[in-house]
């Protein structure tokens, strides 16, 4: 009964979505205040109904209602409660419901956070988001309904894929989707602006905090995914350039370009059409990612069970949403004239260059992801694309990006004298050299030419960020008070850049200096990796709620002194009969120690992999700092103040109307 209610709630949400799309849009066109005013309550009502459907499905999972085919396929009565709940989004149908829930949650949030905006504008924004929700709700009800009954019900479920029985599934998809879907807000702002014909700096100011929030979630989501792959998949890798990882990384790259471009549009009234294009692109790539994962056009470790009918549906939807947006852009583009000019040596130039570099690197990732498909479609030769391609094209694009980042932070808006810019760079350059010398002197990992190069880039970003803050505060009479009163957006910018530097340090050192030893070992044997000796102490049988297996205890010593004890497990999950590896990891800022069990070779001997991974934590620490930077910048009260002031001016017949 509750499942039927959930099904009904989805249908209601669809009906409200149709209203939410049509009525405010027509109202805004005709200037009908009543019709436009429908947008906010409709967005909230839609969220309520989708949340109801979500709760109904969660109820079925918690109570093991295996008469629902989706629950029976993805859960089991022996599954612990936390995984029964997260199993909800462990497969196609449920993850789609999560997508729609988050989309309507964003709409609902916009309905509350848009009170300072002109009515016609906010009505259009919500209508565009409503249109997207209609597409996804139709998709769900037509091809992927999680509420379908299966009678008679099986006595027990087929269990959740053991790979997914992990804390990672609890947090990674919700976070990632929140980011993905969040770009729909920037997209809706861009479309509303194009329809209304007013894309000015006020538009950018409204869109900025929303875009920053979505970007923050996406950053966290990607970092969590990378961390999950690292510890759970037993591979010790943190990035594989898998098509699905790329699908989340591409919107991130364009989203990063977007938040920078928005800042320039807001402050200087430049790059308007470029910013709009980035907003369309970032959300377009989110949709494309959804298409790639669910249509079966590419093979991937992450791919959901695919179905061509679903593929056709998403492709048509993609054409309508992105094709429509780009057609609107082509039609309205000429009305977007940039108001301000800027010199070659100016912050605008550096921002534009970085924006282009980010877009190009996004294009190379897109190319690498789709290349096999494109060549095949053309009937040309065939090529394999893997990490060799991505590392070869992506890294060289990041290096100039990093150099320009440091320069851009010091350049003035509009125009800067080259000589003055150089003078301002003396301090950061000095800082870079000092940091680099210290690193080379103290870290044995930092001595290869490639490591020095990577670290130099990271320290350049670090020094130019810290140097920028120092310079700004020192110029005031009371530096400490000046620091306390720095605008949040400014602090957030530097925090995120410092985070980026920390990630570069992690990527560089863990990529170049990981020590990996693969060996066979029986209890009593020792394996040496770098300075560390891993002694296989004992293997004991273990029994979990829905699996059994073997736990291997390793004692780690360095120079004869005990460092830590690690436990690696090999599990066999009963229902699916799948073996899983749980790595034993001792995390540390300086290095991670990592042990995983491979295949049993005979009665007592196992193939064993031990690794020492220097600075691997810095990868995710940097991502956390970037996300924190995004969150801090978003909270800048200036966005709200200016939005209110502009809205007041608009209400009294000023320049800004929807």
């Amino acid at each position: 009964m509750i499942a039927e209610l959930g099904h009904f709630a989805l249908a209601m949400a669809l009906a409200i979505g149709v209203l939410l799309t049509l009525v405010p849009l027509i109202g805004a066109q005709r200037g009908n205040v009543l019709w436009m005013s429908l947008a906010r309550p409709a967005a909230r009502a839609q969220f309520l109904f989708v949340a109801l459907a979500f709760a109904a499905l969660a109820h079925a999972f918690i109570n093991n209602d295996f008469s629902l085919a989706y629950v029976a396929q993805n859960s089991n009565s022996a599954l612990p409660l936390a995984y029964r709940i997260s199993a909800l989004w462990g497969a196609h149908e449920g993850s789609l419901l999560l997508w729609v829930l988050l989309l309507s949650a964003w709409s609902c949030a916009v309905s509350f956070g848009s009170r300072g905006l002109p009515l016609a504008f906010s009505a259009r924004v919500l209508a565009v988001m409503g249109a997207i929700s209609v597409g996804f709700l139709l998709f769900m009800l037509a091809t992927s309904n999680p509420f379908l009954r299966q009678l008679p019900p099986p006595s027990d479920g087929a269990d959740l894929n053991p790979l997914l029985q992990d804390f990672g599934l609890v947090v990674h998809p919700p976070m990632l989707y929140t980011g993905y879907v969040g770009f729909s807000v920037a997209f809706a702002f861009a479309i509303a602006g194009l329809i209304g014909g007013h894309l000015d700096s006020a538009w950018a100011r409204w869109a900025r905090p929303w875009t920053l929030l979505a970007w923050t979630f996406l950053t966290l989501g990607i970092a969590l995914g990378s961390w999950w792959a690292y510890y759970e998949l037993g591979w010790g890798g943190w990035w594989f350039w898998d098509p699905v990882e790329n699908a989340s990384f591409m919107p991130w790259l364009l989203g990063t370009a977007l938040i920078h471009s928005l800042a320039a549009t807001e402050k200087r009234d430049v790059f308007k059409s470029w910013t709009v294009l980035l907003a369309i692109g970032a959300f377009g790539l989110s949709l494309l990612g959804t298409f790639l994962v669910r249509s079966g056009v590419l093979t991937s470790v992450h791919a959901f069970a695919s179905d061509p009918a679903r593929g056709v549906f998403i492709l048509v939807f993609l054409v309508l949403v992105i094709g429509g947006a780009l057609a609107l852009y082509a039609w309205r583009g000429t009305s977007m004239q940039s108001g301000a000019s800027y010199a070659l040596t100016s912050r605008e130039s550096f921002l534009l260059a970085n924006s282009v570099l980010l877009t190009v690197s996004c294009a190379t990732v897109l190319l690498g992801t789709l290349y096999p498909l494109v060549l095949d479609a053309l009937g040309l030769g065939k090529i394999s694309v893997g990490p060799p391609y991505f590392n070869a094209v992506f890294v060289p694009l990041m290096a100039p990006l990093v150099v320009l980042l440091g320069l851009g932070q010091h350049a003035r808006w509009k125009q800067d004298r080259f000589a003055e810019l150089c003078r301002g760079l003396r301090l950061p350059l000095l800082g870079t050299l000092v940091l680099l010398a210290t690193a080379v002197a103290t870290l044995s990992e930092a001595r290869s030419p490639r490591a020095v190069f990577g670290l130099a880039l990271a320290f350049w970003v670090l020094a130019s960020s810290v140097g920028g803050v120092l310079r700004r505060c020192r110029a005031r009479s009371a530096p400490w008070a000046a620091f306390m009163h720095l605008p949040a957006a400014y602090l957030g910018q530097h925090l995120a850049h410092i985070g980026f530097a920390v990630t570069i340090i992690g990527v560089t050192l863990v990529s170049l200096d990981t020590v990996d030893v693969h060996s066979r070992a029986a209890p009593g044997d020792s394996v040496t990796a770098g300075d560390y000796v891993f002694t296989f102490a004992a293997a004991t049988p273990i029994e979990g709620p829905n699996y059994d297996g073997t736990a291997a205890r390793f004692e780690v010593t360095r120079d004869g002194e005990h460092v830590t004890t690690l436990s690696a497990e090999k599990r066999n999950y009963h229902v699916r009969g799948m073996p899983m590896t749980e790595a034993g990891i001792a995390p540390g800022l300086r290095r991670d120690l990592y042990v995983s069990l491979g295949e049993p070779l005979d009665e007592k001997t196992w193939s064993v992999r031990v690794s020492v991974k220097p600075f691997v934590r810095w990868l995710w620490l940097g991502a956390l700092l970037m996300a924190a930077g995004g969150a801090v910048a978003m909270c800048d009260p200036r966005f709200r103040r200016l939005a209110t002031r502009l809205a007041a001016r608009a209400a009294t017949g000023g320049a800004v109307t929807g």
């Binding site: 591979w235 594989f240 898998d242 059409s273 294009l277 369309i280 692109g281 377009g284 298409f291 249509s295 079966g296 056009v297 590419l298 093979t299 470790v301 061509p308 593929g311 056709v312 492709l315 993609l318 054409v319 992105i322 094709g323 780009l326 057609a327 852009y329 082509a330 039609w331 309205r332 583009g333 000429t334 789709l370 096999p372 498909l373 494109v374 060549l375 095949d376 479609a377 053309l378 030769g381 065939k382 090529i383 394999s384 694309v385 893997g386 990490p387 060799p388 990996d516 693969h518 060996s519 066979r520 073996p579 491979g598 295949e599 070779l601 193939s607 064993v608 992999r609």
Partner: protein, 176 residues
């Protein structure tokens, strides 16, 4: 006009996606089926400096499995290959593709080595001749050195039971 450019690019992308939708990425017909396997002389993982030639492998059918240590799906496929090797139904020859010697060797030590020998192809020369499009791929080569079957993507028990093993059984009577 320049504002319409993104739309044109997007239309092209959609065209490719639409065609891609009607193709199974795991079932790429190879023009090489029924043709002799391309000639090669490559070192192996065990002895990188001593070349193994195409002619050295003639005389009985073998499965040529293309893999790399960076390939996520090869990990998925690997247990099946180990099982297949234990049944002794067919010789497995590995083709290590665009990889590093150390990483490839370590990969086999860790997971077990199902291959009688593994050709080492760091520049992907044989891979290119074979039209390898995504790793893993598997070719069935008969005793005369002719390619009889190709599978793109990880092998599954289903593919093995329904396609590969019956084909192998057909090839068997020709064995002395």
């Amino acid at each position: 006009m320049r504002y319409a450019l993104p739309l044109v690019l997007f239309a092209a992308l959609v065209g490719f996606l639409y065609v891609g939708l009607h193709r199974d990425p795991r079932l790429v017909p190879s023009p090489l089926i029924g043709k002799p396997a391309p000639d090669f002389a490559l070192g192996t993982l065990a002895t990188p400096d001593t070349a193994v030639k195409r002619a050295d492998l003639l005389g009985k059918p073998y499965l040529l499995n293309v893999w790399a240590s960076w390939c996520a799906q090869c990990r998925e496929e690997h247990p099946l290959l180990l099982d297949l090797q234990r049944t002794g139904q067919v010789t497995l020859v590995g083709l290590n593709y665009h990889d590093e010697l150390g990483a490839a060797r370590a990969w086999l030590t860790e997971r077990g080595d199902p291959y009688g020998l593994t050709l080492f192809d760091p520049e992907g020369r044989l891979g290119l001749d074979l039209g390898v499009y995504g790793v893993p791929e598997t070719f069935l080569v008969d005793a005369t050195g002719t390619i009889r079957y190709k599978h793109v993507g990880p092998l599954t028990n289903d593919v093995l039971a329904r396609e590969l093993l019956p084909l192998l059984a057909q090839l068997a009577p020709r064995q002395p």
